[in-house]
């Protein structure tokens, strides 16, 4: 499968896709998209990299990458952000928004505006955690398919 065409295209496209995925995750609270969509885009970039590389290189790289730990971290982070609301309010209450917290705690302006990244409170945090979980989950699915397919081909 790994031809020169795929390798060359991947070199140009993969960084673009990864950056675009991160952009969708980070701007989830301003523009269409969010953690799930961005994570899926990011994972598709990783899938491209997996397909374009050799079996052994992919295997040795991902043996070190703790994908299932990333999944747990994503979910736990999301839950943790939701639990912040227990401090005086309710579960899932957005207590960071408009609070002046340095990261994503800025005051949301009303009216027509270009969208300010430093707003949104817990939403961007949740997007980031969901993004981590989705990219780890989807990548491990692609990886399982890739490794199983290749192994069977070697056995033929």
């Amino acid at each position: 499968m790994t031809t020169t065409i795929i390798k060359t295209t991947t070199k140009i496209l993969a960084p673009l896709i990864l950056v675009f995925g991160s952009y969708i995750i980070l701007h989830g609270h301003l523009t269409p998209g969010g953690g799930f969509q961005g994570g899926a885009v990011f994972a598709s970039g990783l899938a491209l990299l997996i397909v374009a590389n050799k079996y052994d290189a992919v295997k040795s790289l991902f043996e070190k990458a703790p994908l299932s730990v990333f999944e747990s971290i994503g979910a736990l982070g999301f839950l943790g952000m939701a639990c912040l609301g227990f401090a005086g309010y309710t579960f899932f209450k957005n207590i960071i928004a408009n609070s002046g917290f340095p990261l994503f705690g800025g005051k949301t302006p009303t009216g027509i505006n270009p969208g300010y990244l430093n707003t949104g409170g817990t939403l961007p945090y949740m997007n980031i955690f969901v993004g981590i979980k989705v990219l780890a989950g989807l990548t491990s699915i692609v990886l399982v398919f890739f490794l199983i397919m290749r192994r069977e081909r070697d056995e033929w």
Partner: protein
Amino acid sequence: MIEHLPALIIAIPLFGAFIAPLFKKKQSIAAVWAILITAITVILSLMLMYQVRLHGIIVYVFGADKPTIVLPSGYKVPIRIMFEIDGIGAFMAISATLMSFVGALYSYSHVKAESGLEKYYALLLLLEVGILGMVLTGDLFNLFVFLEIAGIAGSALVGFRNYRGEASEAGIKYLIVSAVASLMVLFAIGILYGEYGNLNLAYISRQVSLSTLDMIAFGLLFASFAMKCGSVPMHYWVPDAYTEVPAGINPVLLVSTYASLYALFRVSFTLFANVSISLERVGWIMSVLGVLTMFIGVTMALVQKDVKRLMSYHAISQTGYMLLGVGVGLTVLHNSDALAEFGRTAMAGGIFHIINHIIYKSLLLMTAGALFYVTGTRNLNEMGGLARKMPITTLCFIVGAAAISGLPPFNGFASKFLIYESSYRLNPLLAVFAMVTSILTLASFVKVFASAFLGPPLEKFENVREVPRPMIVAMVILALLCILFGLFPDVVLNKIVYPAVDALINVAQYQSWGGLA
């Protein structure tokens, strides 16, 4: 902290489920972790029941400033996701948490030799979250989300022993059934949302008129939840799924089936409660479906040779009793004389039968799992003479078999007797079918008892010993509950069953969020 109870009961098992995969290196810690988390949820659900009995319906609005702000300032309609917990929700929550605890305890020894246990326990806890969310939520779309969580976690657990081809097949079958059911649910929710512009159960139930679109939505919801609770003619997935799932998951999977039954009741009693004319017809459909389910289930169970498969067909048949009991109540819901006379009793019988059946069927499936654990086979023809080797398992089996056949003084008798008495008043034929089913049940369990436990000891089972202690403890807990519920049915009925029945009947309370708006 007590006002956050509804959120905590979801958050704690979710937390447990996501921590569990981190115990990849030490899988026995994952087991202990799951037992600990499920034990905490049992305590939380008991507290929840206590709160519901004390204060009536509990509303928890997510993301609001206070848990009880249903209508934010300036709005006429609820816009946030909320949990609305009444008697029946708390009742189902107790069943779910108790069975998850027993299942986790049993799994500690039962699946010890398998690999990938950290994922097993993560999925067990996720399945518990799915069930708890389904029974506590007051929001239609949230119901769908938790239905999906329970369905996906359940199908992964059904296919857990993926080195067996049958397990993978059963897992995929369960996945397809769940997907079809939840897609139909989603479609129906879409119809209702398009019509009324809201997803809140209580709000929609106040607006519902029986337009053609509503009828379509009701039909879809009814059919898909009936499919997921394994009623005839959509029962085909039950035997496969219950047979192949590891016995420690059986209790939780049973509760997840009855969470769909709960959703069926919620849809018929609350969502479409205003539609008084055709509810009688729906009640009859439910009762007849119940009779068909119990009779077809038991006749198919009689011919089985695989011990777990036989018990799975009995699970179908017992679901029929619940449908019959509650269906009789639904038929006379708008006829207050008949409701007071026998409708309420019938519903109490049906709902009491849910928890009774969960207890004794889990017990039976666990004894079947114990037989599989020591003999390595589920074929009844290859077993024999195990009573001497496994005395405690045998005793537990006798208790479970007597309970499922409705013999006094076990718990099955208490709920079945209520159903016989009250369904007789609606139509004697219903009660006749229910009794015949009970007799056939007894017959098939006599067969299991004779072929697995009685008879001369077989040579190949000479070295068989009693199963490990955690499995024994889990089985004995359930056997004791069988006896206790049978000896003191009035306590259980008054404390948890009648509040649940009244919650279903008293729609006005639910529609006004317990008087908050």
